[in-house]
């Protein structure tokens, strides 16, 4: 079997005649005496997507993205240029533009080139676009449509999509390190619209990860997504206005972990903390969560959507403890911010593509399990809200205020989940929300592989997870008194 480096060489270097002496020339343009970090990021990505609507596969698309990003960093300062042409000439031009950030005239050179081999691989090299035949992809979409329509007579519309991405990455840095990665990513989604007695609602479900498309067929995963979307939409048909105001909220396990992503995750990214603009800046060692709470960012989970064998700077990902037993332990770092803060990269340097700059980003962020049975947690609440599913969230990292929007929730009355509630946004304060967690479930679950995180206009795939949690005092944005 070929390794990722062989793929990367064949994709980027060999066809363009980029040998070691060519790389020497590029880095001679890129490096100066005050360069602290510099890299070339070669990327070739192929995307394919199919969309079903009204019972037919109406659309399909295929695209290729290919280019190289060239970065030069001097301390806090970054110069960046990119090209969609991979050639020595284009690299030299980009290198000159990126180096403009440096004031020093003298140039420097790389001592020796060395291919780095990661110690473990978290996903396979095979191309997910080719993992099913075209007609099998079409059949899969029809199968989700059929399943959804069979699940309820109230289903009026089914929209299903299937996306596969195959990326080859090569990172060449100022220390002469050459690191390659081959990344598969697949995703499916089902959205349904249901109508009953003139009333309409919708819901969606889906999942994916870094594996082949047959994952959706094996173990009937696609069928489950279709049925789950219908179930949620039907629940929403019966939903009544959610209450308004601060109250006890029980959050379900899995995707509700978007709480952690928004409330603390972004605030613990290295760039904000290096600049001192995060509500968590300078708070390492302080208690920021109830005892018993441990939160990690783990890029090393096999085949997960948020996982990476190496990050976009060639650093092997790791499991970084952010909060341990309620105490703030660490930040997520890329190379630049780690160097400026006198620490090591945690393998969280990520970018959307070759035409974007690297930043500290999350991978899979989750809370470890506690001791309570989820049923016991709900039973402990006299009056409150049980929020099972969410549609997304956002945070202001400086004030620490964050929101996440419930897409499936129930009222809790006398220890029982009763009436379903309409969609409502929940708002809280990141630095203290976890101190209000009074019970932690024993049912840790990760999401199904649907997360997209946006920061500074860049999107990257991520994962979240948590056990069922009881939070005392989150503001629920409903309309009922």
């Amino acid at each position: 079997m070929q390794d990722a480096m062989a793929y990367a060489r064949a994709e980027f270097l060999t066809p363009s005649g980029l040998n070691e002496s060519a790389l020497d020339k590029v880095f001679a343009e890129l490096l100066s005496k005050d360069t602290t970090l510099a890299d070339l990021y070669f990327q070739a990505a192929r995307y394919e997507s199919w969309g079903l609507e009204e019972g037919i596969v109406k659309s399909g698309s295929y695209s290729i993205e290919r280019g190289v990003g060239v970065r030069s960093v001097c301390g806090e300062q970054t110069g960046f240029a990119y090209s969609d042409e991979i050639s020595l000439q284009a690299l030299l031009e980009s290198a000159r533009a990126a180096r403009a950030i440096s004031r020093a005239g003298q140039s420097a050179k790389v001592q020796a080139w060395k291919a780095q081999m990661p110690t473990r691989h978290l996903y396979g090299l095979s191309d997910p676009l080719a993992s099913l035949s075209e007609s099998d992809k079409i059949d899969l979409l029809h199968r989700m449509d059929t399943k959804a329509r069979a699940a309820s007579p109230y289903v009026k519309q089914v929209m299903a999509s299937l996306v596969a991405v195959h990326e080859i990455i090569l990172i060449v840095d100022e220390q002469g390190r050459m690191t390659a990665d081959v990344r598969p990513l697949v995703r499916t989604n089902v959205s349904v619209i249901v109508e009953r007695n003139g009333q309409t609602e919708s819901a969606s479900s889906g999942g994916g990860g870094r594996f082949d498309l047959d994952y959706f067929i094996n173990n009937h995963r696609a069928d489950e997504f279709a049925e789950e979307a219908v179930r949620q939409a039907l629940v929403n048909l019966d939903a009544q206005a959610a209450p308004a105001g601060a109250m006890t909220v029980v959050l379900g396990s899995g995707w509700p972990g978007v709480l952690l992503h928004e409330a603390i995750g972004h605030g613990l990214e290295g760039d904000f903390n290096r600049k001192g603009t995060s509500a968590f800046s300078g708070r390492i060692g302080e208690q920021v969560a109830s005892k018993g709470i441990t939160v990690v960012d783990d890029g090393t989970l096999e085949k997960r959507r948020g996982s990476l064998t190496v990050d976009d700077e060639g650093t092997e990902t790791q499991c970084t403890t952010l909060i341990e037993d309620g105490i703030l332990k660490g930040y997520m770092m890329d190379r630049q911010n780690a160097a400026l803060m006198g620490t090591q990269s945690t393998g969280n340097g990520r970018r959307q593509s070759y035409s974007h700059l690297t930043m500290p980003r999350m991978t899979n962020t989750y809370m470890r399990a506690g001791e309570y049975d989820p049923a016991e947690i709900i039973a402990s609440v006299e009056k409150g809200v049980y929020a099972v599913n969410f549609s997304g969230g956002q945070v202001d990292i400086t004030s620490g205020k964050f929101v996440f929007s419930a897409s499936e929730a129930y009222l809790i009355e006398n220890g029982k989940a009763t009436r379903p509630l309409k969609n409502a946004t929940l708002i809280g304060n990141g630095p203290d929300v976890l101190t209000r967690v009074s019970m932690i479930g024993n049912d840790l679950a990760l999401d199904t592989g649907i997360g997209v995180c946006g920061k500074d206009g860049q999107s990257v795939p991520v994962g979240v997870g948590q056990p069922t949690l009881r939070v005392d005092g989150l503001t629920v944005g409903g309309t009922a008194a």
């Binding site: 199919w50 609507e53 037919i56 596969v57 109406k58 659309s59 399909g60 698309s61 295929y62 695209s63 290729i64 290919r66 806090e76 300062q77 970054t78 110069g79 960046f80 240029a81 990119y82 969609d84 533009a97 990126a98 403009a100 950030i101 007609s135 079409i138 519309q157 619209i193 309409t200 308004a244 105001g245 601060a246 600049k275 001192g276 603009t277 509500a279 035409s355 700059l357 549609s391 997304g392 969230g393 956002q394 202001d396 400086t398 004030s399 205020k401 964050f402 929101v403 929007s405 309409k422 969609n423 409502a424 946004t425 708002i427 809280g428 304060n429 503001t475 944005g477 409903g478 309309t479």
Partner: protein, 447 residues
């Protein structure tokens, strides 16, 4: 100067490439085809705490190809413009079209609807600025902001961006149009601290003409003023009160209207404004006009994403819906004619009620001025609306104190009918232009 070199020649070359693709599609048996070819170049500088933080050069290009075999359709795109790569991309689109289903509503827009005489909308104005000058401007904005108040303790920086782009759209109905435009902006974001609490806010200016940008000093000052005034923010008790949307947020209320009236939401029956043409959804005083041909405006265009000529029209007249936003596909699905909105709406101008921002505060009396919204929280099928917010508590028409960690909730249908006034304080930084909007009541959830 951030400019496309040899723009005329490049445009001609792209138009020729487009013809090459259309011809090659025909040779492959496609009954119809359309192609978009775009290229852009840009400079982006960011300064932070008085020093250069990032210097980025952008260079983007892409070709997107759609082929039709009867009513079957395939799409592919690539960043490589070599004829070999374009042919490969075309083959990929043809391969996709072999597997998609017959959809009788698929196809190009009618040939007679194509834009015939391109208007000069005056959208291309390269900025005569180099990286050092851009850095100076950004430094001036941030410097002004940091000097504004002793409580400005930190900065997320200031940035200057300049972009120039050129695009060709052509289809096998004989349309082949060339567009070019520029976009420049200057923004600043700072952090203020008091006791243990930090707040940040920002301001920006944007235009296709550099001369129309606000000055760096004015952007810095406004960013600082907005940041400092948030210090001391606190939640309020849950209540039901009128809510005044500042102009930059009022734009979002009209954005939701555009989504609800879009052809896709209508034919999918996924809109809270389903079948609403002719219906009263706003008070009678409210008018909304689509004006695609305003010179130098951000949403101006002679043709839409299918080459269809755009035209000025009423969207809302005396509070009643006059039409949807349709491309040819959704128009056919609904049995209507395209409105030249493939790819979205152009400039949308909302009428005002002659009230200044102060007048609207007075009219509100006691309530909430919203200056920031976070999260999505909108159900487009039911119109249910619930979003995180920050702003100011208002009593007797005067700002009392800043408010945060609250949500505002209602239903968009009720909010639209409950609009009591629209300000003359129009924010011109987007294709949707509106002043402040006063909504009669919403549920504010707090402590």
């Amino acid at each position: 100067m951030i400019e496309l070199e040899n723009r005329q020649a490049l445009g001609a070359e792209f138009q020729e490439l487009a013809e090459f693709v259309l011809k090659a599609a025909k040779e492959r048996g496609a009954s119809a085809a359309e192609v978009g070819i775009d290229k852009g170049t840009g400079l982006s500088v960011e300064v932070r705490m008085g020093k250069v933080d990032k210097l980025q050069y952008h260079r983007d290009q892409g070709a997107s190809l759609t082929v039709y075999f009867g009513h079957k359709k395939g799409f592919a795109s690539s960043g490589d413009f070599s004829r070999k790569a374009l042919e490969d991309t075309l083959d990929a689109a043809c391969r996709i079209a072999r597997y998609t289903a017959e959809d009788e509503f698929n196809g190009l827009a009618d040939p007679e609807l194509m834009a015939k005489n391109p208007l000069d909308l005056d959208l291309y104005h390269p900025w005569a600025i180099n990286a050092d000058q851009a850095i100076e401007l950004a430094l001036a904005a941030e410097g002004t902001a940091r000097a504004y108040d002793a409580r400005i303790s930190n900065s997320e920086g200031a940035s200057v961006d300049s972009y120039a782009g050129l695009g060709v759209y052509a289809n096998s109905n004989g349309f082949n149009g060339l567009n070019s435009s520029t976009r420049h902006s200057l923004s600043c974001s700072v952090v203020a601290q008091e006791n243990d609490a930090m707040q940040r806010d920002y301001w920006y200016t944007t235009s296709c003409v550099a001369e129309a940008l606000e000055s760096a000093e004015s952007v810095g000052k406004e960013a600082a003023r907005r940041t400092v005034r948030r210090l001391g923010s606190k939640p309020i008790a849950t209540c039901e009160v009128p809510v005044l949307y500042a102009p930059e947020l009022a734009r979002g209320l009209i954005g939701h209207l555009v989504s609800a009236l879009s052809g896709a939401s209508q034919y999918r029956k996924a809109s809270f404004l389903l079948d609403s043409v002719g219906k009263q959804i706003f008070p009678e005083f409210l008018q909304l006009r689509e004006c695609p041909h305003i010179p130098r405006a951000l949403g101006s265009r002679t043709w839409d994403a299918e080459g269809v000529a755009t035209q000025e029209r009423e969207i809302i007249l005396d509070g009643k819906v006059q039409g949807y936003f349709l491309g040819s596909y959704s128009a056919r699905k609904l049995g209507l004619a395209t409105t030249g909105n493939a790819g979205g709406s152009s400039n949308l101008l909302l009428s005002h009620t002659g009230a200044s921002f102060q007048d609207l505060l007075q009219a509100m009396g006691r309530g909430l001025l919203v200056t920031e919204l976070i999260g999505s929280g909108i159900n487009m099928i039911t119109g249910d609306y619930s979003r995180g917010a920050a702003g100011f508590w208002v009593e007797n028409g005067e700002l009392q104190y800043p408010v945060e960690e609250i949500t505002i909730a209602s239903n968009l249908k009720d909010m639209y009918l409950g609009i009591q006034g629209i300000g003359t304080d129009v924010d011109q930084r987007g294709s949707i232009q509106t002043g402040s909007i006063l909504v009669n009541r919403m549920i504010v959830a707090g402590q």
